[in-house]
Symmetry: C2
Subunit: 288 residues, 2 copies
Amino acid sequence: MILGFNDYRQQGEALARALQREFALVELHRFPDGESKLTLPTELPTEVILCRSLDQPNHKLIELLLAAQTARQHGVKHLSLVAPYLCYMRQDIAFHPGEAVSQQIIGEFLAGLFDKVVTVDPHLHRIERLDQAIPEREAIALPSASVMGAFLAAHTQQPLLLGPDEESEQWVRAIAEPAGLDWAVAKKQRFGDRQVQVALPEREYARHQVILVDDMISTGNTLINVSQQLRRQGAKTIHCLVTHALFGEPVSHALHQAGIENIWSSDSVPHPSNAVGLAGLIASAFRS
Amino acid sequence: MILGFNDYRQQGEALARALQREFALVELHRFPDGESKLTLPTELPTEVILCRSLDQPNHKLIELLLAAQTARQHGVKHLSLVAPYLCYMRQDIAFHPGEAVSQQIIGEFLAGLFDKVVTVDPHLHRIERLDQAIPEREAIALPSASVMGAFLAAHTQQPLLLGPDEESEQWVRAIAEPAGLDWAVAKKQRFGDRQVQVALPEREYARHQVILVDDMISTGNTLINVSQQLRRQGAKTIHCLVTHALFGEPVSHALHQAGIENIWSSDSVPHPSNAVGLAGLIASAFRS
């Protein structure tokens, strides 16, 4: 059985269809005092998948705790979490003394609740494998590259995939190389503490549909800078492909203002830009 | 050392003064994506008290997890939680099949993080002792009655303490009896599913300052009903004394409109009505 939440219901139902399993909803009520009340179906099988993405995570993490422990009390023996966007993966060291290393703490919290955790394109830096963050559990990080590449193949012509900074290279390369697409990566240059300028590699941008590619967008500032430069260098169409759409309407607006025609995101985070469904990919983690 | 948070700083500092211990702040930053970043002091003693009240609790519970685990990593051996308002104590059974019994789940979550938990007037129904909710830990439920009674003795004349319903009897009696004050309790009567009417006991309300007493106010509906009836029975001054002020400005306004002159609350939840400091009472739980 797939147990879903209303804020991620479509994706949970799509996963249930892909796996040919039953879907049921966790009823959620938030009281005015900020407490959450959860009601699970009364009849649960021994194997259950909780499906909820973890953007804006704190409420959701407490609700996962309540749901997981209640499922255990009702006899669930094998409990999986499908969280296509996994929170708290970026704080993987104390950047300043005394900082909480939240990747490790939240990872252990999830390891305490679930037998298996499945996510898509987690933002890992200083560790290589997800099971280093979620210890002693089956921890699966699915790459979205194949479904993203298939989407581009169907929706673009002569695309040039461009990563906005060195960190994005892993995502760009993974999509472009198997599909035989052109790709390049820009370089971030810092001047002083705050000023950032992006240097574009030399390409004939006017001849391509330029696709900016990254794993997540939050402020969008780098993409805006890159897009403005691309325009000056004659690029005619610029689109943007991103796994995790963590940004709100003002950022969407600024990106379009900067000359980005379409923003396409996976449905890891519910968002108006969602264009690429992940259900088939995620289902593969549950077929042995 | 007392480790406090900005949203409960004054109370944390007052506790530190009462215990003659150092106070330090946990720096808290919330990112636009909803994640919390915490920074603790780099030098921590082996015994630390985290002080934060747990109204609007979900963010705060995740931040307690991050703070507690980070403190442990920095060598803290004995970690206490002072949460004068303790969340999730009301859902102590599944009122409907499948409901999460959050009192038990959150209690075990806190037991996993802290050696000792101290709170004030927790709203317990079907269990008698706090350590039934927070198992295998030192779990101390301090009664606010003595400081509440001392406050009333100093600020009222010929008070009659009135509980708005049967559930409030325990709080009213605990304040009134040791102080030798008059008290009574109203009865709630339900008509159909939603209609509630409160029946006042017969008293000469015109001869007293009537003090409505309860452990918490959330919607305020019962108090409004009681206050309107008291007015009709000639009560001249009505005040309200409450431990946990969980209500917002619209409820304050409605209570004053219904004829309640002053609302006095303990500082368990930061609120404009705070009149009774709990630091001295809480300090007593740390002096052996």
